[in-house]
Amino acid sequence: MRARLTLFWRLMIKPLAREPVRTTLTILAVALGVAVVLAMDLAGHAATGSFHSSLETLSGEQNFEVTATGGVPENLVGKLVSLPYGWRITPRMEDFAVLAELKKTLPLIGLDLIAESNHPALNKSAAAPDEKKSAASAAFSLEHLSARESIWVGNSLGKRPGDKLQLFINDRSATYIVRGVYPDANGSECAIVMDIAAAQLALSRTGRVDRVYIRVPQTSGDTNVALDEWQRRAQRILPEGIQVRPAGASTNENRKMLAAFRWNLELLSYIALVVGAFLIYNTISVSVVRRRAEIGIARALGASRRQILGAFLGEAIFIGIAGALIGIPLGRLMASGAVKLMGVTVTALYVTSRPGEIAFTLWSAGLALIVGAGVTLLSAWSPAYEAAHVPPIEALARGRREFELRVTKTSRLGIALTLALVATAASRVPPMGGKPIFGYIAALLAVAAGGVFAIPAFVDFAMNAVSHPLQKFLGVEALLASRSLSGSLRRTSVLVAALCTAVAMMTAVGIMVGSFRQTVVAWMDSELPADLYLRPVGNPSADQHPTISPQLSDAITRLPGVRAVQRLRAYEISYQGLPATLGSMDLDNRQIDRTTDFLSGRSTESVLTELRGAHNVIVSEPFTYKHHVKAGDVQMYITITPANVA
């Protein structure tokens, strides 16, 4: 036992201490691998797992939500309230306001504060310490409740009653007074709360509300059936075009839409796993391969296979655990950054959201540790096993494997070409169940083809190609460097493959985000061939459509030098259980040149002529894929109740 420990210390640990730079780099590589895996795991869960919509803010427990494109007319709220069913009706305004001092977009919720003065969320402030309690109760004194400058904010904003806040709402800016602060620490988002009438005024949407919640009386027995029946009754009472859905349905729609994004993230985390594992494998296997000659000497001096394997596995565990110990906190740190980035992406692409908390569990730490130590172990095992199983003299002779690779590289190139052909074919197969299964197979094949089979030949070729010019321009040292690189072909190949995978991954993410931006830019260019594009202050989020008043657009039209103004209005709608954006614009504005390309190849003029004054729409290409519609289909059923122009 003592001899074994002495041996382990001398042969495995001391060499580590003797090459501190190399050892540090090795441990850091493992740490980085662990960190990448952990960060993607944590961030993926946080960014999508607990997607939190601003719609859920302060909604309390409800049964149904009533919505309509462009808003629900107020008279319908009155109609619902007057029904003899004992329903609790909660109308709301929902939009966004921008905090002038922080340039931060927050949800703006309009509640009927007189009816809601015992709203659970707003009432929690009454449970605060005495001083606040009096402030809170003062906040609800009737004179302030419906005053148009009164607002209530979450305590995470750090404001106190009496503070003044400047807000941009749509195209207007005004100063508001904080009347009360409600606790929002436990997961609900900090929103700005106003009285519903004040919110309608601020948003220039008098006469309609954005959403009406219905809470039905608690019934005994089979509540599900009863709920269905209640929903049917509500739907019957309300005119066509008004939707009654279970509460949270729109949030669920958004969640459904985010499923694709989540799927991508999940895949990304698996890619991160592969890249992390690859990084670890490369580092560790190289560190074992480097010592192949030592393995040969030890075997010649009477070391058994078990001793060799045991020593390297012991060292691998040591490095793996050291790497994981550094990698776990590093990964946690990287996760915070990643969540922030993903939150921005989700908001830009889909819907205003706030990423959830990062749930750093024992399980994720365990996973990271298993990946770190496990992959390290496996990576060390394969070359150590190989070196321990050849005759000692062969282990002593370096370069033999490299030699073998050189011989087989031509046949490997053939395998790579075949795989590449299969990958090309697989990439043409349509998705299965909405998921590009064959696309992933194609990607995997491409990685296998490139990474494993083609790269040795490629590296060799590249080295041969550059060695002449290298020597010419950089002298003999450069030549030696390139020779020694191609000499250790195996190691170089692994490194090149790891780099390729990392670059490919970054490119993929870049394309994913970039292609969306690209389509937006392309669409804006063709649809809005304008020199200036005006939109109110705030996040450019996919689901926020702040408005500009017609007076302002008229004023801009009258400015000298302005040739034409094109007005555009967008709404969030729900179509076949998925969110969509409904856009509209002045078609009669003759001064705007339109150059939209239609897939049918028809001229812009003839398509737009059909739109004018008729029940026709044009849809985007992604929309046709998502909902399986084609030109001429009569499937859309959108009722827009007459709205005052905002």
Binding site: K14, I297, G302
Partner: protein
């Protein structure tokens, strides 16, 4: 009884899909206390023969027997024990572990065998090869002759029955080389090992009991004193 015996041994190497016959039907015996010198031009198969005799590699055909045990068809555990307990190997290029001191290099076979008193035995051996005082130096702090002495001390520390030395003087000047040869000869006689030395030097051939000349993998000549 012979400690090392080769029976009609053939060894082929395959490279570039071409077969190279490094040994072609070699038979020989080495008895305890006997020194056999292998001479011949570079590439005639000396190293190959030593590797086979030390169970570092295995014959393509024929048999290699070490202390009566055939190296082919033996389990790896038995081979490991053979290398550990019966064979001392001195490599042409020393093959010292550069991260270990002289004494630690010499201790290595004993530690691998799990024997006690490794440190004392190592110091004894180093004294026997004339390196007392240099035990804690690292290989890069030693001269070529000193490194070769460390390698010899390491090869003999487990009191092997078979000592194999591949051109032990090849990297040394004549004077140092002769000293190393004398040392090998003395230790062989003292410990009654069966010793096989591949060499270029005529001095080495001069002190051997048997001189075998190899040519193209075959025994061309065998001179017994």
């Amino acid at each position: 009884m012979a400690l090392v015996e080769l029976r009609n041994v053939i060894k082929d190497y395959v490279s570039d899909d071409q077969k190279v016959r490094a040994l072609d039907g070699v038979s020989l015996c080495v008895a305890p206390g006997e020194v056999v010198a292998l001479v011949g031009r570079s590439g005639c198969g000396k190293s190959t023969l030593l590797n086979l005799a030390g169970a570092m590699d295995f014959p393509t055909a024929g048999e290699v027997l070490i202390d009566g045990h055939s190296t082919s068809g033996t389990s790896d555990e038995q081979l490991t024990r053979l290398r550990r307990d019966k064979i001392g190997f001195v490599f042409q290029s020393f093959q010292l572990l550069h991260t270990l001191s002289a004494a630690e290099n010499v201790e290595l076979p004993l530690l691998l065998a799990g024997r006690s008193g490794a440190r004392e035995s190592a110091f004894d051996r180093l004294r026997a090869v004339g390196l007392d005082g240099l035990e804690n130096r690292f290989p890069h702090q030693l001269s070529g002759g000193q490194m070769q002495r460390v390698a010899i001390a390491r090869a003999l520390v487990n009191a092997p029955k078979v000592l194999l030395a591949d051109e032990p003087t090849g990297n040394l000047d004549t004077l140092t080389g002769n000293a190393i040869l004398e040392l090998l000869l003395r230790l062989t006689r003292e410990q009654r090992t069966a010793t096989l030395v591949a060499t270029h030097s005529t001095e080495a051939a001069g002190i051997a009991d048997v001189v075998i000349t190899l040519r193209d993998g075959k025994i061309a000549d065998l001179k017994r004193k």
